[in-house]
Amino acid sequence: MRTLRLLALGWLFHFRMLSQSAFDGFLAILWPLFFATVAFFMFRSGHSVGGLGPVALGAAVMGVWTATSVSASSALQRERRLGTLELLVAAPSNLATMLLSVCLATSTIGLYCIVATLIWARLLFGIHVPVAHPVSFILGIVGIVITIGSLGFLMAVAFVRSRRAWALGAVSEYPIWLVCGFLVPITLLPGWVRPISWVLGPTWGMRAIRAGAFGGNGLPDVAMCLLLAAVYIGAGVLLLDTVLDSARKHATLSLT
């Protein structure tokens, strides 16, 4: 119960903090729209076979991933810069819960990307995204936000150990777009890439959202998405003690 309370209040605290900067907010509004615009022009000029609906959804999820991967790393980097990372570690509460609340707050910001991209697609490009199964569609969105937040948490564990780990967030941004099939179906990727796609929750989340939009049973994909989220959280929690001991041994907590 206490863990859930800490998770909820931590999420609210960090969500409020992320929402405070007008400049960050302005960038967060523009950023996903640039990605979406580039994707729409590319696929429109290439006469996309399945129409631009799947592209709009892919572009929307691209924004969630970018908001989480980059923001989670910058959020931890900000904790270092503010000198609060040491205080979080020195507190008796479970650090994993605190980190998870930071990552869920950043991925919640990503929710905006979905809404903004879909409105952008409709208004500027006339792309209509049907929602065949609203429940499945919404569950898919919730699932992908949770799985992306959890993947961000697993990355955040590395950020605790090393100040340079922020690069991990930036480096993983584009490969995840590709490997998880946000814009291009993973069937088009080389065979050896597919197992990587399968262990990444966003792949299943994307499938669930598309199933919810265009018809099909997306619930198994949602389940897979949440299962992988649980695996990421479990792995992060298990790794965190080792990582934290290493940070205390190598005195990296106070480095900015």
């Binding site: 206490r2 309370r5 800490l6 209040l9 931590g10 605290f13 409020r16 903090m17 405070q20 900067s21 810069r81 503010l82 000198g83 609060t84 040491e86 205080l87 979080l88 570690v89 020195a90 507190a91 008796p92 509460s93 605190m98 001991d245 205390r248 041994k249 190598h250 005195a251 907590l253 106070s254």
Partner: protein, 325 residues
């Protein structure tokens, strides 16, 4: 409450490993803390006094579980800082000096609420406790303001409020008055005295002599990672009380001359303080004989200003102890 000291360090050591060079990196080991031992009793205000880089912050970070000791052992309230880190964290408060350590975009109240949650203060108790600490540190009425608009002194008071929110038995204060103006620093010192009156045990690090002198029950002087003197402020002063301090204003004194002064019989230490165009030589002597004339003889040819003689202070004791390292 366990029997024995509240804070205990035994032969505590900490080495940092780093590298030098860009292309051909060479490993480098820096011994920040080199086998220090001390004990702090219940209700005591114990000071770690030393210059920058002496190992004060490294010591405090080992005690509050943020750093693992390279060797040695430390206990807080009977709990080992390595094996029982979580138990230690529950019972201590940590306050450090400077601008960092707060969420600037949010209000003081938001900061306190968040840290109250992190330290397990129940939802019911939070409002009362936050009110109490805000009153104690003099920020009542300012709690709704964003921290980014706070002065250094206000931030420092908020740091203290955060550090004692969960009513810890032991409070670690790492240079809490650094960069704070004199009036603000005095208020902070009053607050620190209040912690002792409230029954807390406090470990304070500082490099301000008067702060250590006015606040601490006992002081350990630390230099180059080692404790070079320990005792009450009075005892430390008494260590140099037999002697005298002669202060000589001089213009353009060089290191060879200072070395010659150090070599004079009866001189225990010579410190040089830069003061605009001139230097102030603070010469400590054993006091067994009058050394003003021999000192001035060594300064022959240099322009000498005012010469004064006085009784030793804690600062002199500190300079004598640190200067021997």
């Amino acid at each position: 409450m366990p029997n024995g000291p509240v804070i205990e360090a035994r032969d505590l050591r900490r080495t940092y490993k780093t590298t030098t060079g860009v292309i051909r990196r060479k490993p480098l080991e820096v011994e920040a803390v080199r086998g220090i031992s001390f004990a702090v009793e219940q209700g005591e205000l114990f000071g770690l006094l030393g210059p920058n880089g002496a190992g004060k912050t490294t010591t405090i970070k080992m005690l509050i579980t943020l750093l693992l000791p390279t060797s040695g052992e430390a206990r807080v309230l009977g709990h080992d800082v390595v094996a029982d880190a979580r138990e230690v964290r529950k019972r201590i408060g940590y306050v450090f000096g400077g601008d960092r350590g707060l969420y600037e975009r949010l209000s003081a109240l938001d900061n306190l609420r968040y840290f109250a949650e992190l330290y397990g203060v129940s939802g019911k108790a939070q409002r009362t406790r936050i009110d109490e600490v805000l009153e104690l540190v003099g920020l009542k009425g300012r709690e709704q303001e964003r921290v980014e608009g706070f002065s250094r002194g206000m931030r420092q008071r908020l740091h203290i409020a955060r550090g004692i929110l969960h009513d810890p038995e032991v409070v670690f204060l790492d240079e809490p008055t650094i960069g704070v103006d004199p009036v603000g620093a005095r208020e902070l010192r009053t607050m620190i005295s209040g912690l002792i009156e409230a029954g807390k045990t406090v470990l304070l690090t500082t490099h301000y002599m008067f702060e250590a002198d006015s606040l601490c029950d006992r002081i350990a002087v630390i230099a180059n990672g080692q404790i070079v003197g320990e005792g009450t402020p009075e005892a430390l002063k008494a260590g140099v009380a037999e002697g005298h301090v002669t202060e000589i204003e001089v213009f353009g004194v060089g290191e060879p001359v200072v070395e010659r002064l150090r070599g004079l019989a009866g001189v225990t230490s010579v410190a040089v303080e830069e003061r605009d165009q001139k230097q102030l030589l603070v010469v400590q002597t054993t006091g067994e004989r009058e050394l003003t004339a021999p000192l001035l003889a060594e300064l022959d040819g240099l322009e000498v200003g005012r010469v004064t003689s006085r009784e030793p202070t804690l600062e002199d004791a500190y300079v004598a102890l640190v200067g021997t390292e």
